[in-house]
Symmetry: C2
Subunit: 348 residues, 2 copies
């Protein structure tokens, strides 16, 4: 049900700004909720207007994942913080093999933030949620004084349902597993850094920001015994492989020549002094599966629109030191260590 | 399972500061997660170290609620942002009649924030979670540059399970229902405002920040047909009553003399120019129940340690204009409107 609005005038989405009063719990906040959030995200759960959403779930395993988004700038080629905040959490849920269903959203807005920008972000979230088949069912808005925030921060938390028989986790990865990636690496991080550095190329490098739950569903249907899925976001492929190597107590061997990277991204990385292996992705996944299922899994991925450039990039090895090593294009082997320094701040 | 740590030295929780690198997805972030979050929040779900938590739920209704916390200052009499962030979301879940079970946490930290303060906040969250019987099962940490945040913002999102037969919501409130509150109003907001304004009193006014899920469980057991519970946080009792009046299409009549307010809070409100009805609470609830169950419900509340000062403060009326009215101590009737201005910024 909708609240009976009795506001003196509608919000001005052309020239209006976020004010402290929009976070105060009074009438101004109710108006922002009614005229922007409820209107744009409308669904049967959110429309109940309670301080929490209530839904029916079947018995079984449920997955919960959370992500705060502080990306700067808020709008970038290939997306914005709104779409990204949906994709990021949908993907974190999907990486367990679960089907993402419900999202919550928490905004922290800075006083003076243009309502026009907020509207664009909220509409982008709604589109991303619809495309991924999830509903934004509950939310919260806080406002901080000018200079105490940075425009717009967004937390999204997601819930999903794990199909029976699916069991994935970093600790299930074992020596002999093949390592696959779903497409080209580094697109998101390089798109953001190019924008920040005002780099221009013949064609704009776009973020790969997208939801992967449909790709995961297709993969799981054909190869239900995938051992682990992970999206290589902050820290890139390198952080993901090192994390899982330590979690599972194994090593990894990858092959530089098999890792898909767009020529333009490679060129930009050289210019910016970045390594594509350390750069964040927002629409790619890494999969670990039994060796004898790898070709079948690769075929499924390549036949999906979001996995056309998928590749087998290496294998899991026995290694009590949990080293990740890469055979370079020149034939040598080098360690792929975690980044220790601050490579790409506020990339998501 | 725990990650095999191979950090060169432990984090310095005495003099260390949050650095940009703690949000970069690399080794420094992993160290912060290992040495602070996992260590303090440790539970079977979080310890799996995946990007999402997975747990079994029985079939039935599940509730999800989210809250971002931007309170200033971070530490205050009666609590801190850590405990508050657990209480706030536990209460939002519990207000549906659900049993809160799992929380996610998302930190947005400002570069330079003292690790000692972060540790204190995290330990406070862990204690609050344990006291409420909930587990913090998954999390996320972001860091923003100095001047782009304000020390520490915390989002918590909670999940709970609704017992069979319980059905509550603002839209279920109906004319004739009695309105009860669980205790004195205004404590939290006045504690924070007194601190900001450097007011001192003979005894310090403390925030009422606390989890109410045990009180709710006791209430629901005796009166399962409570129509609605709501915690009067931002905007205070006034915002809560107006929200529900509009949601249910009813009016409300309350009686000033029956509303419990501590003498000291009343005095501070007069000094600060505040009205206790508009001031935030973080450990109180408002209940709407059928008239013939009100005395029974009041007795249950008063016999619980968190409801000793509970009172019946009024009743729901038929009113197509959804007015909330209060009979004052002098016998007159006045409208209790929503606050429209910025009364108490960053109160939670």
């Amino acid at each position: 049900m909708k609240r009976e609005a009795n506001y003196t005038s509608s919000l001005d989405f052309n020239k209006g700004k976020v004010e402290m009063v929009h976070g105060s719990g009074g009438k101004a906040m109710a108006q922002l909720i009614d005229e922007l959030f409820i209107k744009t995200f409308s669904n049967e759960w959110l429309d109940q207007m309670n301080d929490q959403a209530c839904f029916e779930l079947p018995a079984g395993r449920v997955v919960m994942a959370t992500d705060s988004h502080v990306i700067s700038p808020l709008f970038f080629p290939g997306g914005d913080i709104g779409a990204l905040s949906v994709h990021g959490t949908v993907n974190d849920v999907a990486m367990s093999g679960a089907i993402p269903k419900y999202l919550s959203v928490g905004f922290i807005l800075e006083e003076g933030f243009p309502l026009a920008d907020l509207k664009q972000i909220v509409e982008s979230m709604a589109q991303a949620a619809e495309a991924a088949g999830v509903a934004i069912v509950t939310g919260d808005t806080k406002v901080v004084e000018r200079g105490k925030g940075d425009g717009c921060f967004i937390n999204t938390t997601g819930m999903g349902v794990v199909p029976a028989g699916i069991n994935m986790g970093g600790d299930l990865v074992q020596a002999g597993d093949k390592i696959l990636v779903s497409g080209t690496l580094g697109d998101h991080g390089v798109a953001i850094m190019s924008l920040r550095e005002n780099l221009t190329f013949e064609t704009t490098i776009e973020s790969d920001s997208q939801s992967l739950n449909d790709l995961v569903a297709a993969m799981v249907e054909v190869v239900p015994d995938i051992h682990c899925l992970r999206d290589p976001t902050r820290g890139g492929l390198s952080a993901t492989l090192n994390e899982i190597a330590q979690q599972a107590g194994v090593g990894m061997q990858i092959y530089e020549q098999q890792i898909p990277v767009k020529a333009q991204v490679k060129a930009a990385c050289e210019f910016l002094g970045l390594d594509p292996l350390f750069v964040a992705n927002e629409g790619k996944l890494v999969a670990f599966c039994p060796e004898d299922k790898a070709d079948e899994l690769l075929a499924v991925m390549q036949s999906h629109s979001k996995g056309q450039d998928a590749a087998i990039i290496g294998e899991v090895t026995e290694d009590s030191l949990s080293f990740v090593q890469m055979q370079t294009a020149f034939g040598g082997n080098r360690m792929v260590d975690w980044i220790n320094g601050e490579q790409l701040p506020r990339i998501c």
